[in-house]
Amino acid sequence: MPLSREQVLHIAELAKLGLSEQEVERFTEQLSEILAYAERLNALDTEAISPMAQAIIQRNVTRDDVVQPSLPVEEVLANAPQRQDDFFRVKPILEE
């Protein structure tokens, strides 16, 4: 099933990507191809197979509630695009 232009723009919006006109066209085509490829799975009969969330067999991998050392704040902020005191600083966000 081919993806519509609107769907591609919606996905781009959700991913906060600005696409040029050519990119919208190219991605509409490419994403449709990927979907068509994945759709081949529909040919399999999965009637008797229960749904699974993951391919791993492990279950109940948890940790005890124990505090471990955190990173030094200088390392935490080493890659911050902008920094103010010991905070990450980002472009203004409208208060929700």
């Binding site: 919606h10 959700l14 991913a15 906060k16 969330a53 993951q54 791993i56 492990q58 279950r59 109940n60 991998v61 948890t62 940790r63 005890d64 509630d65 124990v66 505090v67 471990q68 050392p69 955190s70 990173l71 704040v73 935490v76 902020l77 902008q82 103010q84 005191d85 010991d86 905070f87 990450f88 600083r89 980002v90 472009k91 203004p92 966000i93 208060e95 929700e96």
Partner: protein, 487 residues
């Protein structure tokens, strides 16, 4: 036409743990300097592996059990995708279609009427970072990012602001009993959103629902929902339409204000979290957790009333907080039938709770042990000290940690029941106040209380009030006064 409100509530409650949900950073975000409790996992760096906190999972299951939920045999985590700087990964690890707890209920009582509020689900997720808005930008502290957070969702069973309030109060009480959450709304440890719609009474289909946010106190929950019900009812009465929007409660103006439109359905593109293996919740595990359930507030309330004959309104106050309830139980135990449970309750509700509120650390840190309280109540009951003096002594016990007996002896506070001594005082007071005496003799009976007050003041509250009244009556009649009022 008559309208009715249909309300569903979503409560987010931070789970009390030492470490965060998916990493070993300390979960104590409030007191730490910014970004000091962070690591590659909770900062969302590539290639890291989250591992779920066992204690947070168990606390959530415990909460579900307290809310009469089923614990399904299978549960998993999912990614909820949305772009916002408080989520460093670009998604929140949450639970979508297999939450830890489903299909529960909580019974509440409003105006003497029992109501059952069904709980749709309780799931576990991670809290987000704290944003601070400054001129020209926003500052982020990731200490709170990754703190375990429970979400408790009701069905749309709530019908009024009072019911919403009662639900929240009862839920908080339970969470605090379980020790899974502090219940502090002002600090954001417990947060609440309400979905409110209004429909003609008796209608089957729901009206358009409005999400109400920014409810930062119990009071604002009640006010905001009442306001929103009123607003929507007026719109419908005028034949207008309710729009599906998010409203925020404005604490200053005491009204809900438009925040954003919800015309576009949210698109979170949930998918299973590939880095966290699913959970198999064995019945054995669930039963081990169930054994940790304490007696819950509703059961305690009922027992206080049935077993000890406590007045329902007192039982409500005494059972609301676990520390208070256990203190009361210990005091009734120490009283061992010598002092009636209701007498203990009266002292608890009126005096002890006030003193505990004023003291640092509340009742848990109080230096007055339940048996010390009972010893004081017993002194009052036996007439060793008056009720008035008893209150004063209790305040000093809270302030200094001294025992009642000690304070009474040191300050010479024993009740004066010596009739001769009291008669001399009565004569003195009457002699010193010729004006009021004259008024009394002319028929102004209210002056009687003035004389009693004067004697109480002279004895600093130690005079036995019954003996004082009797003596005063005698002396006034001797001076030709009218029959004195009986107390």
């Amino acid at each position: 036409m008559e309208y009715e409100a249909v309300i569903g509530m979503e409560v987010h409650a931070q789970v009390i743990t030492a470490s965060k949900m998916f990493c070993g950073c300390s979960a104590d975000y409030a007191s730490a300097p910014p970004n000091t409790h962070t690591c590659p996992v909770c900062l969302g760096m590539p290639g890291v592996l989250p591992v779920a906190n066992q204690a947070a999972i168990e606390a959530t299951i415990l909460t579900g059990l307290a809310l009469n939920c089923e614990i399904p045999p299978f549960s998993k985590f999912d990614r909820k995708n949305y772009p916002y700087p408080d989520l460093p990964k670009g998604y929140q690890i949450s639970q979508y279609d297999y939450p830890l707890c489903i299909n529960g209920y909580l019974d509440i009582s409003v105006g003497g009427q029992q109501r059952r509020i069904r709980i749709r689900r309780v799931h576990l997720e991670e809290d987000t970072a704290k944003l601070m808005h400054v001129p020209g930008g926003s500052l982020i502290d990731f200490n709170r990012a990754g703190v375990p957070l429970m979400e408790i969702v009701t069905e749309a069973d709530i019908r009024s602001a009072e019911e919403a309030y009662a639900y929240l109060v009862e839920l908080r009480s339970i969470l605090r009993y379980l020790g899974v959450n502090t219940g502090n709304m002002e600090e954001g440890a417990m947060r609440c959103e309400a979905n409110v719609s209004v429909r003609p009474k008796g209608a089957q289909e729901f009206g358009t629902k409005v999400e109400v946010k920014n409810l930062n106190s119990f009071r604002s929950v009640r006010l905001a929902i009442a306001y929103e019900i009123e607003r929507q009812t007026r719109l419908l009465e005028r034949g207008e339409r309710v729009h599906q929007v998010t409203m925020g409660w404005d604490e200053e103006r005491l009204q809900t204000v438009f925040q954003r439109s919800k015309e576009y359905a949210e698109d979170y593109r949930y998918f299973p979290e590939p880095d966290l293996p699913p959970l198999e919740l064995s019945r054995e595990w669930v039963e081990v957790i169930r054994r940790r359930l304490p007696e819950l507030p509703a059961a305690k309330r009922a027992r206080f009333i049935a077993q000890w004959g406590i007045k329902p309104e007192d039982a409500e106050i005494l059972a609301a907080d676990r520390a208070v309830a256990e203190y009361f139980e210990a005091a009734v135990g120490a009283a061992n039938g010598v002092v009636a449970p209701q007498t203990v309750a009266n002292w608890m509700v009126v005096e002890v709770l006030r003193l505990a509120r004023e003291a640092e650390g509340g009742l848990e840190a109080a230096r007055v042990l339940p048996k010390d309280l009972v010893a004081l109540i017993q002194m009052v009951a036996e007439g060793a000290i008056t009720q008035t003096v008893g209150k004063e002594v209790l305040a000093e016990m809270f302030a200094t940690g001294a025992k009642a007996e000690e304070i009474v002896e040191r300050r010479g506070l024993r009740q004066i029941s010596d009739a001769d001594a009291l008669r001399r005082m009565v004569e003195e007071v009457l002699a010193q106040n010729p004006g009021p005496l004259q008024q009394y003799l002319e028929g102004k009976q209210t002056v009687f209380a003035f004389f009693v007050g004067q004697i109480m003041r002279a004895t600093r509250g130690k005079a036995n009030p019954h003996i004082v009244s009797a003596l005063l009556r005698e002396e006034l009649e001797k001076r030709g006064g009218p029959a004195a009022p009986t107390p």
